[in-house]
């Protein structure tokens, strides 16, 4: 059964994504979550007509010693949410909160949204970052492209949505 998130609006013409908890039970995602290393979820929203794009990132790591989930979420609104979560149920609840991913400049927006799941934390290796910096000179590009340069994606999803702001 295809995984389908829901898209909502937030004040200031912001599009937010609500990801279903079933994604955490995906076989490949589950295996990485259990690895004791960070699983990084990179959300990228691109406007279908135009070059505008937004991004959000979620990082989850299970600490085997404390048996807690160390989670971090940052959306397009710039707010960082960092927590220690003790149970799987609480993790699923936290996961299902709306993540601001795109800031629109019109009353109607059509988006292509991708969610890429990466092993390890999203910070790039020193070597890779140096190459990006040398070639692109832009932390924006490093954030959006750099995360896919070195790590092999575990899984990815792609959706389309259209949102009307009232």
């Amino acid at each position: 059964m295809p995984v389908q998130p829901s898209f909502t609006t937030a004040p200031g013409r912001v599009v937010a994504v609500v990801l279903p908890a079933s994604m955490l039970s995906d076989r490949d995602v589950q295996r990485q979550l259990a690895s004791g290393l960070t699983t990084t979820f990179v959300l990228v929203a691109r406007q279908r007509e135009g070059n505008a794009r937004g991004a959000a990132r979620i990082e989850i790591r299970f600490d085997p010693w404390d048996e807690v989930w160390l989670v971090r979420r940052m959306g397009i609104d710039g707010r960082e949410d960092k927590q220690r979560i003790a149970t799987r149920e609480a993790l699923e609840k936290w996961w299902s909160a709306a993540v601001p991913v795109f800031s629109a400049n019109s009353a109607h927006v059509a988006l292509n949204v991708t969610l890429t799941v990466l092993p390890f934390s999203s910070a790039e290796g020193e070597d890779a970052r140096r190459w990006i910096a040398a070639d692109q000179g832009s932390p924006l590009v490093a954030a959006l492209i750099g995360t896919t340069l070195d790590a092999k994606p575990i899984r990815s999803w792609r959706w389309q949505t259209e949102v009307d702001f009232k």
Partner: protein
């Protein structure tokens, strides 16, 4: 517009935040490393090649680089990392789950090129292979914890015109983690069979030192004996010898995701090369019938530098594009005794600009390899700046340009990598 600026600002903030967070990344004290699912591959070699050591602490970046490095090994298809509780709080066991290739291995690149002779003639070999200069077919056994014995067939190719391309039977031994330094050395004994002559047992020594998880310094020494015999002509015995010595040093930066069919990452290689070739044989320089053949000797000295820069981008789960530049320069000095031609000196050079696209034919990621269709296009230019002895080159042009394309299907499996395709090239 202001919203777009805000969005861009926030995305930039995310990037900066990631970098700031990286200033003090979480580090994990690895007290033990366990290699799991190893059937034939030696766990010691996997640990050595990861460049990780028990009793040290590592960041996730370090672990990711190690995982990527292991994926580039020719005898592993994948290497997944997981941390488990160690013996005490704050200590971890690093589990490396590997998927091995089979002991029989092959790397076959069969892409014959159709040359369009209706345009300018192309006067050199078409070689679509960019990275792996050695085709291979054979068996590999892991012995003694840190050693690998291999036997099979290899094919030596490079892009310099003053070195010899040939195929050879080979038996060799590679020792990993030399003296606990993570360095490796391979000793090969090769028997050329697709060369200027029948070939004799020829040694090759390759030694490498990993500088970082992505950078390696490699030294290659090859003594190749193509011929060493005697021939009797008109009651006179002559010695015939043909031998080539190649010494090269290569610095390689490699952040690609796999060794033979990369779809992500960068390869940069700078490799100076020194070649020496000695030939002695016999030739007829007088009219027949005449005084008979004369012996001659020839010594060729060559210096070269090869540069490779290739980058691969994954556009999506299925599509990958690549672009790169390959270039080389040389200086060759050829002396014969007695001189038939004058002293020959020339400086060969080549430049290749290439672009490629490949598409995964399997939608689902597989640990057992992949199957892709590829399209490559290359703009190739070659020059020869003759300083002395122009007459020796006859009518072959000193400058050539061509466009070469190829379409191929590549299948990487637990057994090896097979690339089948066809190329089309024309000179201009």
């Amino acid at each position: 517009m202001s919203r777009l600026s805000l969005a861009a600002f926030v995305v930039v903030s995310i990037a900066f935040s990631a970098l700031a967070q990286e200033a003090a990344p979480t580090r994990f004290f690895i007290e033990k490393i366990e290699v799991r699912n190893a059937k034939r591959v030696s766990p010691q070699i996997v640990i050595a090649e990861s460049l990780l050591r028990e009793g040290a602490d590592y960041s996730e970046d370090d672990l990711r680089a190690a995982s990527a490095r292991l994926r580039r090994l020719p005898f592993l298809v994948s290497a997944d990392f997981a941390l488990e509780k160690g013996t005490e709080r704050g200590r971890y066991l690093l589990a490396i789950n590997i998927v091995e290739t089979k002991p029989f291995f092959y790397y076959i690149d069969a892409r014959p090129t159709l040359i369009d002779d209706s345009r300018n003639v192309i006067d050199y070999d078409i070689d679509p292979i960019e990275e792996s200069k050695d085709a291979a077919l054979g068996f590999r056994w892991f012995v003694g914890g840190r050693g690998v014995v291999h036997v099979g067939m290899t094919s030596r190719r490079d892009r310099q015109t003053f070195t010899t391309d040939y195929s050879a039977w080979a038996v060799g031994y590679t020792r990993y983690d030399l003296f606990g330094t993570r360095a490796f050395a391979t000793l090969n004994l090769r028997l050329p069979f697709d060369s200027p002559a029948e070939g004799l047992i020829s040694p090759q020594l390759v030694a490498g030192v990993p500088l970082t998880a992505n950078q390696t310094l490699t030294f290659d020494y090859e003594d190749t004996f193509f011929r060493r015999d005697k021939i009797t002509l008109m009651n006179t015995e002559f010695n015939r010898q043909d031998a080539e010595r190649l010494i090269s040093l290569a610095w390689t930066y490699n952040s690609t995701n796999q060794p033979f069919v990369p779809t992500r990452g960068t390869i940069v290689r700078v490799s100076p090369l020194r070649s020496m070739r000695d030939r002695s044989s016999v030739h007829f320089i007088h009219p027949i019938p005449g005084p008979g053949p004369d012996a001659y000797t020839e010594h060729t000295n060559g210096y070269g530098l090869d540069f490779t820069a290739l980058r691969y981008w994954e556009l999506s789960e299925l599509n990958s594009v690549s672009a790169g530049v390959l270039a080389g320069w040389g200086s060759v000095d050829d002396r014969q005794n007695p001189a038939v031609f004058t002293h020959i000196k020339y400086r060969p050079a080549y430049q290749i600009v290439r672009a490629g696209w490949s598409r995964n034919l399997w939608r689902d990621e597989s640990k057992a390899g992949d199957s892709r269709v590829e399209f490559d296009a290359r703009l190739v230019k070659r020059q020869r700046n003759v300083r002395d002895g122009e007459v020796a080159f006859g009518v072959t042009p000193n400058k050539e340009s061509s466009i070469q394309t190829s379409v191929s299907w590549v299948r990487r499996s637990l057994w090896g990598t097979l690339r089948l395709g066809v190329g089309y090239a024309w000179g201009y």
